[in-house]
Symmetry: C2
């Protein structure tokens, strides 16, 4: 039974499991499962094989239960396998090492036979775990559907400021990082984090939100006791758990009960009463589950916008090419619904009209406004509304290159009776021979990264018919980037098995991502720009410093945003610190790195970005310089470009 | 509203559309749509652009309706675009040709803008239609989601037997075939068949079931009138329509009403009363729709087995490799449920036991029976039941190579109390050193093509421990093939863009397939075979004659089946003419051809099949010899093989 109904949340974080500490053989497993499900847990993390088993020739594997005692759907929906914890693939003892390898493979084979969705494999027993990783990597090559969750205790000792001796600090993220690098970022290898009573700094915890964490195994020892004797969590633990819920991580309760709050005796998981399966006692860990459900239900409901976009989370899309391709009616329909955006445009146009035409002149002066890239007309509407609002007279030219949108524009003008005010021009703004010059040029040509849909090139072409003192709305725009950990995006790109997809920028609603440092400005453009030396080529170097207590991390690429000044103080954008609320026309952009870069604790990240212009296309190139150089990505625009 | 509720049928054939003959401009289209939907039609086939339009510079396309008059989902769910019928891309008149090309492209661009699912393009105006195909092929390259349905009248004149002058016979399938060959089997090009009052022979109609027919456009002129004045169809038309329903083809009613059976006046589709949109009159074509619904609902409900398998229709699966891979619990679970199969085995084993042990010997003779490939034990159970049924004493060895299945076998034996009768052997049958010899060897190692899961090689390995007079169950098996048209399967394989996938055999539930000739035997194997010259290599040539009235056709590959003699008269199989009813363990197999072969009317098809054996693998090679040679497929097993 899910932790609660959070409107619109369809992620795994609704589900809560329980770890089975003892080895329930034979009928024990079905009984434990029934008891746990009836106590509102959703699944078990359960041992599959007798932990006393060691391989001997000809022996039959002493499994917890025959595959027949549960149905195939029970096995796959309700059991996560727990691999024997004694295995030690990096022991100096060769026999133990060989026994461990054989047992691990036998247990995984059995779990595969049962079609389990996942197995938890024990934490590395030491910091060098190359042989463990080798065997797991071998196994991963043969798995088709099952996932392996590597168990990692969530711990990081803080180094003293004056004493930078790294060798003495422990950071379990480093174990995970070595393991997954050895396993080549396998897309079926995940993390299960053991949450203990003490927690590292928030900045270091934040790293995990970009890692493939599937489960947070919450130890009963991590709980405090409230005034009424019930289990609760510290504020910092609460914040962490809420973070997990928001990043689709499911919780597993583990440990012995320290809070025997109910009158009924403890359930089957209590060591003392292992055989009372049939009495409908409360589960010993129910108070902890109740507290989890309380935390889950206490969260704010997902905003409506977020619910709409939930299926886009971490889903990579190629950016639109509105210049080369014609948008479809559905695309126009979607973007036209973004009322916040058009309200901002209307405010900007109104301010510009008032600046252009003083109150004395309203009856004598008619402003010439050109909407370049008019689409199906939303900016024409916003312009006419701004004119009405300010009492200014307007002559509008609506310039649009998509002949299908022009058909709609004609219907609109007729329907609204705008024939006297609006002239429709079916042409690319870069070639149009305008009959007069404009006072105001209004456009919406911005992509997620600002200039990436070639607004600069289009407006350069259009400013031919802007008066020398004319206004462009937007008047300027700036792109931003920040380094991120984003293992899911990396694996999705890797699945294409080529370099081209790693040299492409994607539009994506970032979700399972760790943002490692505040965004910084990349490229800026201002319009109009009549300077004869004006160019749209750009080159920027940026240096990012991570907070000192973050620890080391892995950077998979850069998240990109934009902010635009429409006119004076009216802006529009998606840069996280200044973004316009409730606007949905743009997701962030993501620039991947071909090879994720390890950033040691306290090392700065230096990245270079280029915007390059050719005769028929515009493209970006990017490269990391520190902590270690990457190849130049997308050299000559070989993999990704925007057509002119 | 669907034609009716046919339990389990989720195919498109539930939906019935109506062709809009006139050009309803402006608000006409929404009104016609509302009226048609309220009259229980599901969609319209409607003209998008004024048929009087001819391209002129600067003109705005005179569309039926602005994109705004219907919602995006209405456009895509309820409107199939009808491209202007005047276009003629192969006219001698150059201006007409150029106007046609421009108009076709503009109309398709508009339909794309509206996100329509499909457009119907007019029938070729003459038998040479290369320029039409070229322009359509150009367009298809740029389409991502929309389909084009080429309208083709369903006609074929029969040639006189004595007069084989082909030039005088008309077969519209030939138009379609040329067109799709020119368009390189584009997966977005489909057929819409116009059903007229006279129909060609059933054999020639059967060809279309393997072609990508999306719609049958049923002309009102094709209807007869029943005693009460209502429209009905001839028996042959009824059979054809039922065939379409069963092959997921949807019907579109077209034409003027010839049956004014209701008292109310005709609806908006009647030319005379085009402006009565608001009166809730019955749709002029409703009597035809009612008859379609009657035909649809009259069909037998889909059998339960068919409902289970509906999602597997035409879905290509790689055959299992049970020898190299270990099956999973779910796979065992599924196959163990096939009670018909195990009942046949039990019958065969019972007969063999009675033959081995006469009634006088039942108390003194114990038969040694070995189940080789025991899996989780279903054949062990069938053997013990046969022994009980016949009163024979049995000693069973259950030999199984999958250690996970062996775990289950141990549980089963214990659970059932069979310890005294059954010995479990965890070993590959080919290496087992048996302590005694068997009277009966029971196995289920057959694939869809009989020997394709290497039953011959496994049983050769096992017959070492069969007594010279011992019995193998099955005692023999034979594979079968027949040539098929299967454009969907061809396109699915083509999507992989390599040769290897065209040299692979697939397990597939054949659905949209035309079976062109009766199946013929390919390879046979009998067990035991103690001959020192025995080999499992095979080579067979087959010649298929198509019925004389079929006409020409395209062969995409061969459907394969098997039949097995378990013991004496007890058989088991999927060969269509003799198949065991209600058995679901096997779908047919499909051997594709890299390039589909055109078979002219009355030409025989000659195909050669090889079964080849190497040290580590077994594979098939195949090739067409007539009507024209294909390359040898899968030479040296380079693309597809079964591991030993």
């Amino acid at each position: 039974m899910p932790l609660g109904q959070r409107a619109g949340d369809k992620s795994d974080s609704r589900y809560c499991g329980v770890e089975v500490l003892d080895f329930p053989a034979g009928d024990g497993l079905p009984a434990v499962l029934t008891h746990s499900l009836s106590s509102a847990f959703d699944f078990l993390l359960a041992p599959l094989v007798d932990p006393d088993y060691r391989p001997t020739p000809g022996a039959v594997l002493p499994v917890a239960a025959s595959d027949l005692v549960l149905s195939p759907s029970q096995w796959s929906s309700h059991i996560v396998g727990k691999i024997s914890e004694w295995i030690d693939l990096d022991s100096e003892d060769e026999q133990l090492r060989l026994d461990s390898e054989l047992t691990l493979k036998q247990e995984i084979a059995w779990a595969t036979h049962l079609s389990l969705q996942a197995c938890v494999i024990p934490p590395p027993k030491r910091s060098t775990c190359a042989n463990y990783a080798r065997v797991v990597n071998n196994i991963l090559q043969g798995l088709t559907n099952m996932q392996l969750w590597l168990r990692i205790p969530l711990e990081k000792s803080e180094s003293m400021d004056e004493d930078h001796d790294k060798s003495e600090t422990v950071d379990s993220w480093e174990w995970w990082n070595s393991f997954r690098l050895l396993c080549e970022h396998s897309s079926q290898l995940y993390v299960a984090l053991d949450i203990l009573s003490s927690l590292p700094s928030m900045n270091s915890l934040g790293r995990w939100f970009g890692e493939p964490v599937r489960a947070a195994i919450l130890q009963t020892d991590a709980f405090l006791t409230n005034a009424r004797g019930y289990p609760c969590l510290s504020k910092r633990h609460q914040t962490l758990l809420t973070g997990f819920f928001n990043h689709s991580v499911q919780v597993i309760i583990s440990g012995r009960s320290n809070h025997n709050v109910s009158q009924v005796s403890e359930g089957v998981l209590s060591r003392d009463e292992n055989h009372t399966e049939d009495t409908p006692t409360q589960h010993a860990l129910s108070p902890y589950l109740d507290y989890m459900a309380y935390l889950y239900q206490r969260m704010d409901p997902l905003p409506e916008q977020e619910r709409f976009e939930i299926n886009y989370r971490d889903f990579l899309q190629s950016p639109l090419q509105p210049l080369m391709d014609n948008l479809e009616a559905q695309t126009y329909e979607t973007f036209e619904k973004d009322t916040v955006k058009y309200t901002q445009y209307q405010r900007a146009i109104a301010k510009a009209l008032v600046d252009k035409v003083s109150d004395d002149e309203v009856s004598t002066t008619r402003t010439v406004l050109m909407v370049v890239g008019a689409g199906r007309g939303p900016l024409v509407r916003a312009s006419l509304q701004a004119a009405e609002e300010t009492g200014r007279m307007l002559k509008v030219y609506a310039v649009e290159k998509n002949p299908n949108a022009v058909i709609t524009l004609h219907s609109l003008i007729k329907l609204e009776g705008w024939e006297s005010m609006v002239t429709i021009i079916s042409s690319d703004m870069r070639c149009w021979d305008a009959p007069e010059k404009a006072d105001i040029l209004v456009s919406e040509l911005l992509g997620s990264f600002g200039d990436n849909e070639l607004s600069p090139e289009c407006l350069d072409g259009a400013q031919r018919f802007l008066k020398p003192d004319g206004i462009s709305i937007p008047s300027s725009y700036t792109s931003f980037i920040q380094p991120v950990t984003a293992s899911k995006l990396h694996n999705d790109i890797k699945a294409h098995k080529d370099i081209a997809h790693f040299e492409t920028a994607y539009v994506v609603k970032l979700h399972r991502v760790a943002r490692l440092a505040p965004p910084q400005e990349v490229f800026s453009f201002a319009h109009p720009n009549f300077s004869p030396k004006a160019t749209n080529q750009r080159y920027t170097k940026l240096q990012f410093e991570l907070p000192q207590d973050t620890g080391s991390c892995l950077v998979h690429g850069f998240a990109g945003y934009f902010d635009a000044v429409l006119y004076k103080d009216v802006h529009l954008g998606i840069e996280p610190n200044t973004c316009t609320p409730n606007m949905f026309s743009w997701f962030p952009i993501f620039f991947p790195l071909r090879k994720p870069i390890y950033v040691p604790s306290e090392s700065p990240i230096e990245v270079h970005f280029w915007r390059c212009c050719g005769a028929t296309k515009v493209w970006y190139e990017w490269a990391l310089v520190a902590p270690s150089p990457s190849p130049i990505h997308n050299s000559n625009g070989r993999s990704y470009w925007v057509g002119l």
